[in-house]
């Protein structure tokens, strides 16, 4: 435990308005602290430069899952465990449930939150690809108001996001439009549980009369941010899920991702596996 604990402060605001007020009064000074599964790891390694936190764990305004005809809206503090337990999510959003089930372990799933995962902005996170496929939108609030932004433009670069210091994520909204689509999720990690992703592939497609009418593909760990594979999607739209479409789509995918060599894996591995997972996805569509 390498942090100098006396230097760290945390307060518990009584409600969301109070939290936002605190953040607005000293922008950038107070950071929200949810389940701690990312921040505490940094703290223990002595690598948490930020010193003042607002405990938002108990803010009811950030909890709860609601469904309308077109969307499911999740509070930012929805934990991975809660995602897996929700009936509509289990039925219509299997990619998100798979991502939740494959993040960390039972213990981290009880404390890790969707909002925290997004705010941590790691390109290796497992929920973001699923969120991209489900056309997620993020509700950002501050003392000054609230706005919805599409999630796929939320991350501006490696570990960066379009979130001002006085803002926090209140809700995440996913579209129910992919219910009934064929869906595919695969995380390739260092082992089968509690693994950081080497590559994560989430995809859904609507197949009509043997052709890919529409498709959404997103990947993690192959770029500085979560990546929507728009070029591969373009190639596949309207095609039959067969060999010709596959090879063109694989080439497009290989060109639009930017994997790196790091401690866990190599660019070459990630690129080749991305291509292979696309092939597996197409097999699912054809089958």
């Amino acid at each position: 435990m390498r942090a100098f604990l006396p230097a760290y402060e945390m307060e518990t605001p009584r409600d969301l308005a109070a939290a936002l007020g605190r953040m607005a009064s000293e922008p950038g000074v107070w950071k929200p602290f949810a389940g701690g599964t990312d921040l505490m790891v940094l703290l223990e390694a002595g690598k948490l430069p930020h010193k003042k936190f607002l405990n938002i764990w108990n803010l009811q305004e950030l909890r709860g899952i609601e469904a309308s005809a077109e969307h499911v809206t999740l509070g930012a503090l929805t934990t991975y465990a809660e995602v897996q337990r929700h009936e509509i999510l289990a039925r219509e959003f299997p990619l998100l449930c798979r991502a939740a089930a494959e993040t960390g372990s039972v213990a981290t799933q009880n404390r890790g939150t969707l909002g925290g995962n997004i705010a941590n902005a790691s390109p290796a996170a497992d929920s973001p690809p699923a969120l991209i496929v489900y056309d997620a939108e993020i509700e950002i609030v501050s003392a000054g108001g609230a706005r919805w932004v599409p999630y796929d433009s939320f991350h501006s670069g490696y570990k960066k996001m379009n979130l001002r210091p006085e803002e926090l994520i209140r809700r995440i909204r996913v579209a129910r439009s992919a219910a009934g689509w064929k869906q595919y999720f695969r995380k390739v990690g260092t082992r089968r549980a509690q693994a950081i992703s080497k590559i994560c592939f989430a995809a859904a497609a609507r197949v009509e009369a043997g052709r890919i009418a529409d498709v959404r593909i997103a990947l993690g760990s192959v770029a500085p941010t979560v990546l929507r594979a728009v070029r591969a999607e373009q190639i596949l739209r309207g095609q039959q899920p067969g060999v010709a479409a596959l090879q063109a789509a694989q080439n497009a995918l290989g060109a639009e991702i930017a994997p790196i060599d790091d401690m866990r894996s190599t660019a070459r591995y990630r690129r080749n596996v991305a291509r292979n997972l696309l092939a597996e996805f197409l097999e699912v569509l054809a089958g």
Binding site: A193, K198, T266
Partner: protein
């Protein structure tokens, strides 16, 4: 021979404490006035220390600061030799080498202080591979970077090539492996005028620590005391390293006048302490047209890191095991342990044999392929039998039937049918999942090599109390493998009592004799035998004195103890190891009777490889071994299961990423061991041919599973994919490239 208690799965002696959280590990202990200690380490692999700066806004006057100058005796951690400094004085030779020690009561401030010490080091060029060390790009140790070398010669290797049907060569490599005991290293030390130096901590060998502290402090034996606390795993990682951390805690305790506790966090433990020696083995094998081994020329090198520590002994075991359980008339083994600028490598379960056995068992599958016969046929044509000689010239005097072990392993695993079935299924190129089944056949010598046990001269004492409770006093440590329980069983068997009446005294050098280190698969076979003998000795005292008659009950025994003690004050039996007179070993020629006994095994691994991702899954694992006598079935099976799990990690998951001698993936997130969903059912089967010199016939088993697991998996992957595996760990990245090459 029918036994009462031996052979039964008596519950673990300290089980209740462990399942209730009451077992006390070193970090659970706290002493009044205790300070915490931390270590400031070298950031570079090699260099000359220019200056040490104490910076930051730290109240340095509150701190105890120790450097090499504060060492009262010799600045070394004594082991085989005295080349490793306790604290670097002028030169550093590996990343994370300890330079400064700090103590303070506030452990958070202590970390701030650690960050505020800046060590100015003028870097020197380092050596980071076996190849570079042998090439002598820099001389970093001794005259030639070589800690030790061996040369084994049997028969006439040079004359065999001409008449060979086939000659097969190959080079095989294994990487470092971190022991990853779940309890990190830790020590508490106290130094007082009255008692001298006392340390409590997580360790395997109290007397190793004792000796090292004597030399570091320049104090006589009775002024140093080492106590083992409940130890959360060791696997060899706590064989030699605890002497270093004990020395550090003791130096801080001496200077501060207060007890000092040093507990490593996981990152420090992984980066700074010992790992399994990386290895490189070259095989050149002559075989006849019909698959008889004619000659084996083996070249075996291990990377020892920056200081000698135990490298000569690791090399020794790896060398002796390099030619396996086969009868080959002509064998040459040339081996060496070399220095690199990495933290010294050290003991890890298997201790050199996993490295050389991986190479051999992978190589022999390739030899079989060259000959055009099945891998098991090659083994069957060459398995050693009683009366034949191993590579070092030891005549096998045990009843061994490797063919029978193999037959049983194959039957249990469905090997033959699966071999055919998988090959057929794999030939359909559309399937993304390829399946394979492979095996390894091997042996593992128990006890110290050659004259090692004679040199150790281990001792055990047994003392009975007036109420009939019997105490076992031994320096052997419990670290999960079951020492406490099997010693109790052995004593209970010898004394015809129940295990509840036997108490194992906590290993404390003030009270227990030196039973040798808890390593080398020797605790059951060698020390257990001493326990048995001590028990019989205790009985003899009672019976010769007329206090006890044959056919006694437990109540008779207790009464007899009371009466004996009333008359003689103490009822204690003391035993010292006697080396069997028919075991002869020549240290110069490195030949003769290497081990008193061997365990023999055949392991079978079934794998599936997803060719899309090169992920390997072990689907089934069968481990068959002949071990003399199983003292406690649950504990023995637990040893094999755990060892196989570590072997699976060694083969597939555990990859140390090095950058100029530093482990850069020193977190559990990035150094990956198998979880409960990564492992198959591990199916364990024992054969028992009692070994006359083991307690109730038991031989050693602790390290055995590390030898055969990785090569069985590598051979299974080769069967599944056609990939010629030459190194472990088999990472998905490397396997994907090899798969692409096979298909190209």
């Amino acid at each position: 021979m029918k036994t009462r208690v031996i052979g039964k799965s008596v519950p673990r002696k300290e089980g209740r404490e462990k399942v209730t959280g009451r077992a006390r590990y070193v970090d659970d202990l706290s002493f009044p006035g205790m300070l915490h200690g931390v270590t400031v380490r070298s950031p570079v692999a090699r260099g000359r220390i220019r200056a040490i700066h104490f910076e930051g806004e730290i109240p340095w006057h509150e701190f105890t600061v120790v450097t090499a100058k504060d060492i009262p005796g010799k600045n070394c951690i004594a082991l085989l030799i005295e080349d490793q400094p306790c604290l670097a004085a002028e030169f550093v030779n590996h990343p994370e080498e300890a330079i400064v020690l700090l103590a303070h009561h506030d452990k958070y401030l202590l970390e701030e202080a650690r960050r505020a010490v800046r060590i100015e080091i003028e870097p020197l060029p380092g050596v980071f591979s076996i190849a570079d060390s042998l090439a002598r790009k820099e001389i970093i140790w001794g005259q030639d970077n070589i800690f030790k070398s061996f040369h084994v010669e049997k028969g006439d290797v040079d004359g065999a090539w001409a008449g060979a049907g086939f000659v097969v060569e190959g080079t095989y490599e294994t990487g470092a492996q971190e022991q990853l005991y779940i309890e990190p290293q830790g020590m508490i030390a106290q130094v007082t005028e009255a008692e001298g130096v006392t340390v409590w901590g997580s360790l395997q060998c109290p007397h190793y620590v004792h000796k090292a502290l004597m030399i570091l402090f320049g104090l006589p034996r009775e002024r140093i005391r080492v106590v083992q606390t409940e130890t959360g795993g060791g696997f060899g990682g706590k064989e030699e390293y605890p002497s270093m951390i004990a020395a550090h805690a003791a130096l801080l305790a001496r200077k501060s006048g207060r007890p000092v506790k040093i507990i490593y966090d996981r990152a420090e433990d992984m980066a700074a302490t010992t790992k399994r020696h990386p290895s490189r083995t070259r095989h050149r094998t002559a075989v006849s047209r019909d698959g008889k081994l004619l000659a084996m020329d083996i070249d075996f090198t291990v990377d020892g890191g920056a200081y000698e520590t135990l490298s000569p002994v690791v090399l020794s075991r790896g060398t002796i095991h390099a030619a396996g359980p086969y009868a080959c008339p002509n064998v040459r083994i040339r081996s060496r342990a070399v220095a690199t600028n990495a933290p010294p490598h050290g003991a890890f379960r298997g201790f050199g044999a996993p490295q050389s056995v991986f190479a051999l068992e992978r190589h022999l599958d390739r030899v079989a392929e060259a000959v055009g016969i099945a891998p098991e046929e090659l083994r069957q044509r060459n398995f050693i039998r009683e009366g034949q000689t191993l590579a070092v010239g030891q005549v096998v005097k045990e009843k061994v039937d490797m063919n029978a072990l193999m037959g049983r392993a194959f039957e249990l695993s469905g090997y033959h049918a699966k071999r055919k079935q998988f090959a057929a299924a794999n030939s359909d190129s559309r399937g993304a999942i390829k399946r394979g089944i492979g095996f390894a056949s091997f042996l593992h010598g128990a006890g110290f090599t050659g004259s090692g046990e004679e040199y150790l001269a281990s001792e055990v004492a047994m003392e009975a109390m007036a109420d009939g409770t019997v105490h076992i006093l031994a320096g052997s440590t419990e670290m999960g493998q079951g020492t406490n329980t099997i010693f109790a069983q052995i004593a209970a068997e010898a004394l015809r009592l129940d295990c509840e009446q036997i108490k194992i005294i906590q290993p404390d050098t003030a009270y227990v004799p030196n039973s040798g280190p808890t390593v080398a698969s020797r605790t059951a076979m060698i020390v257990g035998k001493l326990v048995e003998t001590a028990g019989l000795g205790l009985l003899k005292l009672l019976m010769d004195g007329g206090f006890l008659q044959p056919g006694y009950t437990a109540a008779d025994f207790s009464r007899a103890c009371g009466e004996y003690i009333a008359e003689h004050r103490v009822l204690k039996s003391f035993v010292k190891y006697e080396h069997p007179r028919d075991l002869h070993w020549d240290d110069q020629k490195y030949s003769g009777d290497a081990y008193g006994a061997y365990a023999w095994a055949v392991y079978v691994a079934e794998v599936s490889v997803d060719t899309r991702t090169a992920e390997v899954r072990v689907n089934d694992f069968v481990a068959v071994q002949e071990v003399g006598k199983v003292i406690n079935p649950v504990l023995a099976a637990g040893q094999i299961e755990g060892g196989v799990a570590q072997g699976i990690g060694f083969a597939l998951y555990e990859n140390v990423v090095w950058q100029e001698g530093r482990m850069v993936n020193a977190q559990m997130t990035n150094y990956v061991m198998p979880t409960s969903v990564d492992l198959p059912a591990i199916r364990v089967y024992f054969e028992e041919i009692p070994y006359g010199r083991g307690p109730a016939g038991a031989k050693g088993i602790g390290e055995l599973p590390l030898d055969g697991t990785a090569p069985a998996i590598a051979n299974a992957i080769a069967h599944a994919t056609g990939v010629d595996v030459r190194r472990i760990p088999i990472t998905a990245e490397s396997l994907l490239e090899m798969l692409e090459a096979v298909h190209a």
